[in-house]
Amino acid sequence: MAVPEVKEKYAGRIQEVTLGAGSRGKTVAIGGESTLPFLHFEGTVANRPAIAIEVSDREPDDWSPLLKEAWGDVMGDPAKWAAKAEELGADVIALSLDSAHPERGNTGADDARKTVRKVLEATTLPLIVYGPGQKDKDNEVLVAAAEEAKGERIAIGNAEEKNYRTIVAAALANDQVVIAKSPMDVNLAKQLNVLIGDMGIPKDRIIMDPTTGALGYGVEYSYSVMERVRLAALGGDATLQQPMVLTVGYEAWRTKEARTNDEVPQEWGDWAQRAILWEANTAITLVNTGANLLVLRHPQSVALVRKAIDRLMAGA
């Protein structure tokens, strides 16, 4: 008896979004696929998932010692950090303007401009620029960043339900891409994409961040939310067809497994191996359900995820 045909015919396709233009030596396209992750037998996987390395404008005081060991001195200088990240295989630099947070330095628009300029000069890669995650300061520094990087097609984020207007307007005015972030829910993601789209920003300039939890800390929820988003998108729902970015490094490195080796069960194994795997396995699990762009922290997990993606693309 012949094996029944199991190929799906999807009505929809994921939107392709390109990061980088102008002085960027390299541009990175994400999305564009017409099937679920790496099912090369039934559709095209137009672009490989890309890897961004997270760089902060302020020496992080709460990062795992393992990350500090891996990056060393460059952590005090976002330009050097970005250059090293490029050397170590990033496709994109995810610059976090964390020092703008009222409790972590409260720097302002001028500082943001200077930092963005320095980092643009230090690397040829496209940028993501994140605000500190506090509404007013996000508005202040992300507008500055969007203006400073005009012509470079950077991504700015996060635009959330509570504060998307100013950020989307800045992206629109300066030809940038916007990251739409919603808390782990298909309908909220959809709603935000619609609101942002209504402001007139074209679809090829929106990336969505459906929020993730780390391995052992909610990754299964992202797995299922992302899969539902992706199936709806391929099924033809145009409001969910944006490529997905996930802040894997941030989530994985705040878990106990990654952060510490003090008084943990012996069964948890070698600390460095465990911590790196915590990030790499979170990343690969999300790649398995549709991630298009991963923001990572450790050079070794970057190398592992990159090689895994090479292997997954080899069937194309």
Binding site: V219, Y223, E227, Q273, L277, T285, N288
Partner: protein
């Protein structure tokens, strides 16, 4: 594929004799369709009808059992392609491959590593399942199999010579081993052996699903029932594509010939333990039933067990603990009182840190319907009112001689409202992550 009551009724005797305990054959058929009755309750069904109903009722992916006793492993019996459609039910078994040619000491060490590995996570004990033993001479093989079975492990017999396989089967006794004779082996020829020893049998075909279906048909014709599929993955993309096709064929098309669990060997497609772990993660996420590892680093195994636990949690029901007042380390009236939610992960993160600190504390677990601190807060299920209610219903005030309560740092913003809800109480704000609890308790004690 499930049958309707009417379809079942058509093959029943239709005499309404009531011996099944139901008034009519039709009513009995309806109960069968709703899975509220067993076909065996009707003494008059024909063998033919029985066979038809059995096939129709069989799960789309056959349930396979390996091992015995408290390490019995069941895989298969899945009913959905996507986890959110319902849930994935049977976690994939994790095995370590051990060549029988290892020295006695090395082999014993390998077996001990697997048998001895258990780790607690979110209140559950997680562990690996067994070993896959790679053939040698019949005698040596039998001895190795016995060694593993004696430790309670499930075994996969990796051997191609029927005499060696039989030695292994005999040594495994009634522990339901799995025969794996290699991707290219003629499994039908091994069917009688599998049957004789109630073992399951792997059927392989390199990357060709038509050939694989033909091979399972042949093995079934030769008497085998419990099959496992090796679709012959030659790369990582295959490791996603082949299981996806098998799962769809079995579940969406009810294609019985491919309705069996899948076995995978990620180590042979990887250059390091980390890569092997990542491929195993992909396979846990999508559709492997048995995963045989070549390397056993504790960190790797721990991350895979955590992922397996995550993916196989029912998406509709977060793992929860009962709300109430928990005592950590025999607390005294003067011990601090901490409050958290009843999401298991949250509870065990906090309880674990308090225990680890060696200090005593009261842990008040509010009913948040199984949600984490911030999720419950955002959903309005962990607010000042809910916390005050937990304080009152548990009667904690009578057990302690102070009136202060420590909030999770993530919801520091609740302290004002909570002080209003609990007049006379002092609300303290603890650290944001539970990892900060030991030093926080130390600080509290010194004040």
């Amino acid at each position: 594929m499930a049958l309707s009551g009417i379809q079942i009724y058509k093959v029943l005797p239709q005499t309404n004799c009531k011996e099944c305990g139901v008034a009519t054959c039709l009513a009995f058929a309806m109960k069968l369709a709703a899975r509220q009755a067993e076909l065996s309750a009707c003494p008059y069904v024909s063998d033919e009808a029985k066979a038809m109903l059995d096939t129709a009722a069989a799960p789309p992916i056959r349930l396979i059992t390996l091992g015995a006793g408290d390490r019995k492993l069941e895989v298969g019996n899945e009913t959905v392609v996507y986890r959110h459609e319902k849930t994935f039910v049977h976690q994939p078994g994790l095995f370590l491959r051990l060549p029988a040619s290892l020295s006695d000491a090395d082999f014993a060490a390998g077996v001990d590593k697997v048998a001895g590995y258990t780790v607690e996570r979110v209140g559950q004990m997680l562990r690996t399942d067994g070993v896959a033993i790679e053939g040698a001479s019949a005698d040596a093989f039998a001895a190795r199999v016995k060694q593993a079975v004696d430790k309670g492990l499930a075994v996969i017999l990796l051997a191609s010579d029927p005499a060696v396989i039989e030695a292994g089967l005999a040594a495994a006794g009634n522990t339901k081993p799995l025969i794996y004779a290699g991707a290219g082996a003629d499994s039908a020829a091994l069917a009688p052996l599998a049957k004789k020893y109630s073992a399951s049998l792997t059927v392989g075909a390199a990357g060709d699903l038509e050939a694989l279906a033909a091979a399972t048909e042949k093995a079934v014709a030769a008497g085998a029932e419990d099959l496992v599929l090796d679709p012959g993955m030659t790369g990582w993309a295959d490791a996603l594509a082949l299981p996806a096709q098998l799962r769809r064929a079995a579940i969406k098309k009810n294609f019985k010939q491919l309705g069996y669990p899948i076995i995978a060997f990620p180590g042979s497609l990887s250059d390091s333990a980390e890569e092997e772990a990542m491929l195993a993660s992909l396979l846990i996420g999508k559709y492997a039933g048995l995963i045989v590892l070549d390397r056993f680093d504790q960190a790797v195994v721990y991350s895979l067990l955590a992922l397996r636990q995550n993916i196989y949690t029912d998406p509709q029901k977060p793992i929860q603990v009962s709300p109430g007042l928990y005592e950590i380390g025999e607390p005294e009236p003067g011990s601090p009182l901490l409050v958290t939610t009843n999401f298991s992960l949250t509870y065990f993160s906090v309880a674990g840190e308090v225990e680890g600190s060696g200090r005593k504390a009261w842990l008040l677990v509010a009913d948040s319907e199984g949600l984490s601190v911030l999720t419950a807060w955002a959903a309005g299920k962990f607010d000042a009112e809910a916390i005050a209610k937990a304080v009152k219903t548990t009667g904690v005030a009578e057990k302690i001689n102070h009136k202060s309560i420590v909030l999770p740092g993530a919801v520091a913003g609740l302290s004002g409202e909570l002080e209003e809800e609990l007049p006379g109480w002092k609300v303290l704000v603890g650290p944001r992550e539970s990892i900060g609890i030991p030093s926080y308790l130390k600080l509290l004690a010194s004040q």
